[in-house]
């Protein structure tokens, strides 16, 4: 097991190298000189040239990549052209917001998805089943940003129940206040995160519902489920305990694979709700030609996706002892 984990961790290195190299090559094609952009149109040619030297932009691409790798090994992701701050700090500042949003969306998506999927499977071919499945295909067909806008329109603009945008104090940051008996920040945080996490989680819920349904339909036809029912266990117990455990295996795979998609969706969701996360940081950086920030965000997100996939593979062994890695 330990050997397997080490092997998998070792495989991350070439992936990260590849990802950074590709992003470096693409950035080389981006028109517009970051030094010129930073100084404005009116800047003198000498000033631009001096800044280019300072930023290391005058060096050949491969050398720049080498410098980037060397700094990376030292835990340095470079300095933002635009904000003149270390990229690592910018990312660390924004990471909690994105993690919070993604985790909430995953929670919303998997709870709604699994429950809807089970109900659909146990009531196969009923009106309820058809309705749930139709809603779920609508859910995967809906553009994330449109859903977000419609939710804002309905709940924030028309009803005025929830804030239009922003993160508020943040749910995680609000937790310490609870110890002092102050629930206000937590409520504020939850009010802010509700619409964004529904927006981001809907597509996932739809996908999970479809997967849970088909996986459940397969499982409830298996002998062990029939045995459990035949020996007189209550139907609900059989479904929610015996069958669900095995039905969830493919669902967890999907959940892991969707994590990357979810981070991608976060880019759009964050820009609708003015959520101060990594996605917005990336979009702003792309617009401003802030190369170090683009590289940094892509690197961190890729690392996250790869690690989550590894964790998912490890979780298998716990839920399904038949799977062993050696």
């Amino acid at each position: 097991m330990a050997r397997y984990i080490l092997n998998r961790l070792a495989l991350i290195v070439p992936i990260i190298l590849g990802v950074t190299l590709i992003i470096f090559l693409i950035l080389a094609f981006i028109p517009g000189d970051p030094a010129q952009l930073m100084l404005g149109e009116a800047a003198s040619a000498e000033a631009v040239a001096a800044l280019r030297t300072e930023l290391g932009l005058d060096k050949p691409l491969l050398i720049r990549y080498g410098i980037f790798l060397k700094q990376l090994l030292q835990g340095d992701l470079g300095t933002s052209y635009l904000q003149r701050a270390p990229v690592l700090k910018l990312i660390v500042d924004r990471l909690p917001a994105t993690l919070e949003l993604t985790l909430f969306a995953m929670f919303v998506g998997s709870v709604i998805g699994v429950v809807a999927g089970i109900i659909s499977a146990t009531k196969q071919h009923s009106l309820l089943d058809y309705t749930a499945m139709f809603i779920s295909i609508l859910g995967v067909s809906m553009p994330v940003f449109w859903l977000g806008i419609m939710l804002i329109l309905f709940f924030s603009v028309n009803l005025g129940w929830l804030p239009v945008s922003g993160r508020g104090p943040g749910v995680i940051a609000a937790l310490p206040a609870i110890l002092n008996g102050d629930f206000d920040p937590l409520i504020q945080g939850l009010r802010h995160i509700l619409l964004p996490s529904i927006t981001l989680g809907t597509g996932l819920a739809a996908l999970i519902a479809r997967m849970t349904r088909s996986s459940m339909l397969e499982i409830i036809r298996q002998d062990y489920v029939k045995t459990a029912k035949a020996k007189g266990l209550p139907g609900k117990l059989v479904i929610w305990k015996h069958a669900l455990k095995n039905a969830l295996i493919p669902v967890i795979t999907a959940l892991g694979l969707q994590f990357g998609q979810l981070l991608g969706g976060a880019v759009l969701t964050e820009s609708i709700f003015a959520w101060p996360g990594l996605g917005r940081l990336a979009v702003d950086a792309i617009n401003a030609r802030d190369f170090p920030v683009i590289q940094g965000v892509v690197l961190v997100i890729t690392l996250g996706v790869v690690l989550v996939n590894l964790i998912v593979d490890l979780i298998y062994t716990f839920i399904d002892p038949r799977i062993r890695y050696s």
């Binding site: 590849g18 992003i23 693409i26 553009p143 940003f145 804002i152 969706g265």
Partner: protein, 300 residues
């Protein structure tokens, strides 16, 4: 399935049923037609297709005509979907916008197929080191968050239609390559492939004439659903201002524009979103239906 065979046996043999290719086509159509949702999907896709082709005939007005007197006009009997902040007719813009969505959807899927399918065939057929090399490269591509990769590509090569198509196409290559590879793996060990090789067929011929036709079913299914994904990605890029540039009407761009007028004119953001949803729904339902008919094994 049962019903279909019974019907076939009972009906009197005529020309249509005797020709093997027509027969298999007919049985395909019968099975397809049995799924109401697949038919619904097909109708939606055809409707969008017709809208895109006949946009000039169907649009009630000029999608570019500015009329500041009617700025932000809400939907009415005269202008079914109202007007935007420049007083342009939203229905006309949505009708013309279907062209952008479909063009990007179809062209980028073709790009992805054109690169992904040969890669998958080669990886699956040769196996070993070549397979490993291709698959590790695809792993790297897959690890990228696709919207970020597409955004960066568009930023690098400019927000033109061509670079949007290439960006979305390139981002989807790994999925097609993987699907083709896994089908190629099963097909390549079949005896008729050995026979073709022994008879002296070139590798190229074996790959494209003998292996590819037997991998087509899952590729078609995936391409149909991939079209849905490509349309969503284009809309997302345009929404972020990195896709189709104004004043060209694109659904994502119209939506982004409508965001600023949510309080005063919510119709501007509402209708383009519905257009995207119905189009994507059409491709998804069609893909689902095709999967059930073409490749029951894929049913997940």
């Amino acid at each position: 399935m049962e019903v279909a065979t019974v019907v076939e046996q009972n009906s009197k043999p005529n020309f249509m049923d005797t020709h093997p290719r027509i027969k298999s086509m007919l049985s395909f159509c019968r099975r397809f037609a049995k799924s109401k949702s697949a038919l619904f999907g097909l109708i939606l896709v055809l409707l969008v297709l017709i809208t895109a082709i006949f946009a000039p005939q169907l649009a009630p007005g000029d999608p570019y005509a500015i009329n500041l007197m009617k700025r932000l006009a809400p939907p009415s009997g005269e202008e079914l979907l109202g007007r935007d902040d420049f007083g342009r007719d939203i229905l006309s813009r949505i009708i013309y916008g279907s062209r952008v969505s479909l063009q990007v959807g179809i062209a980028s899927t073709l790009v992805a197929l054109g690169i992904g399918v040969p890669l998958g065939l080669v990886a699956g057929y040769y196996g070993g080191r070549i397979d490993n090399l291709i698959m590790r490269f695809l792993d790297i591509m897959m690890a990228f968050p696709s919207i970020l990769l597409a955004l960066t590509l568009v930023a690098a090569f400019g927000a033109s239609m061509i670079s949007i198509i290439l960006a979305i196409g390139v981002v989807s290559v790994p999925k097609y390559a993987r699907i083709t590879r896994s089908s190629a793996l099963t097909v390549k060990s079949m005896e008729y492939i050995d026979a073709a090789t022994v008879l002296g067929s070139s590798t190229f011929r074996v790959l494209f004439k003998h292996i590819l036709p037997n991998c087509v079913a899952p590729i078609i299914v995936y391409a149909t659903m991939g079209m849905a994904g490509a349309i969503l990605t284009e809309a997302g890029l345009s929404f972020l201002g990195m896709g189709t540039q104004p004043p060209t009407p694109s659904w994502g761009g119209m939506l982004a524009n409508g965001r600023e007028f949510l309080r005063t004119a919510p119709h501007i953001a509402t209708f383009p979103g519905i257009a995207i949803m119905l189009t994507v729904l059409g491709f998804n339902l069609l893909g689902d239906g095709l999967r059930d008919v073409l490749d029951p094994r894929l049913k997940s």
